[in-house]
Homo-oligomer: 153 residues x 2
DNA sequence: ATACCTGCAAATGTTTTGCGACTAA
DNA sequence: TTAGTCGCAAAACATTTGCAGGTAT
């Protein structure tokens, strides 16, 4: 079986999830939503709506920005995307389904970000919430500082 | 000695820090910057630039919005304020100096936020960074979910 | 059929910026 | 004296929305 960058099987799976979500909400699976989903899944890293729009425009100039914004919100609600806000003002999205949860180290000098995950911290976050009788749905943790390369300089 | 809400001594201290920062950067300690600093320190909780501007307007209608934005950024750089971005689009500021570091629990139902601090997590964050040869300058951790009151409902 | 969707352009809300007058050091 | 500041209004962004025509179910 030949597999492309992200693997055909995964895209299928994610399409299934979106389809199921749309059906549940009485929404429609349109051509645009498929184009946007595919483009989003083919991009690695953390992208803004505008950036994704610019990519989509190249092959599908008929898709509007507003639809990209609207669809990313749907992907987020469907659990396929995560919303991030680093230091800049724009909202960034990253894949969520089939990707392990992770947090970020963000370099203040060069802007590079590294994905990290620490199960011990996750566990303590859970306990911290319990102590406060708080039920966590999701969280965000970002460490800002200087990365290895920039320290060296 | 009579002490007001925040304590005269503290405001002095924070004024000193700002003065030192401005001097270091060859910036000036103006009347407006003093007005904005005082107003900011007298407000508890997390405030946006617009909200702070609205408060200042009451007693000092001559101060412009742009100056409030510009000054909050300076307070941030001087280490007197922290920038936060909850789920809404506007940037919020909170006091930083002389306040213990803390993170936030944010209720997705009612919007209530609670300040929390867990030294064990802080320590693990530090270790996580070290493992990645990353030097942390600051961090942000927010847990989103449902608060005690909203669970009860 | 009939919700729901779309692209467009206009509207919104937040933050930044250019500018001529002003002021702290 | 002279950088740095100020208030103002306009500009710049990111995002949302109203609408008239189009489309999935």
């Amino acid at each position: 079986m030949v597999i492309n960058i992200r693997g055909v099987m995964n895209i299928r799976k994610e399409e299934d999830i979106l389809t199921a979500y749309l059906k549940k909400k009485d929404l429609k699976f349109t051509e645009q939503r498929k184009i946007i989903l595919d483009a989003f899944l083919n991009v690695e890293s953390h992208i803004t709506a505008e950036e994704l729009y610019d990519i989509i425009k190249q092959n599908n100039p008929e898709v509007g920005v507003a639809t990209v914004y609207r669809t990313l919100k749907i992907l987020y609600e469907a659990g396929l995307a995560n919303e991030l806000q680093f230091s800049d003002k724009a909202t960034r999205y990253e894949h969520l389904f089939d990707h392990q949860h992770h947090d970020h180290l963000i370099c203040l000098k060069c802007g590079k970000y590294t994905e990290v995950c620490d199960p011990e911290i996750e566990e303590l976050q859970q306990k911290l919430a319990e102590r406060n009788k708080f039920q966590v749905i999701r969280h965000r943790m970002e460490l800002y500082g200087i990365c290895e390369n920039c320290i060296a300089k």
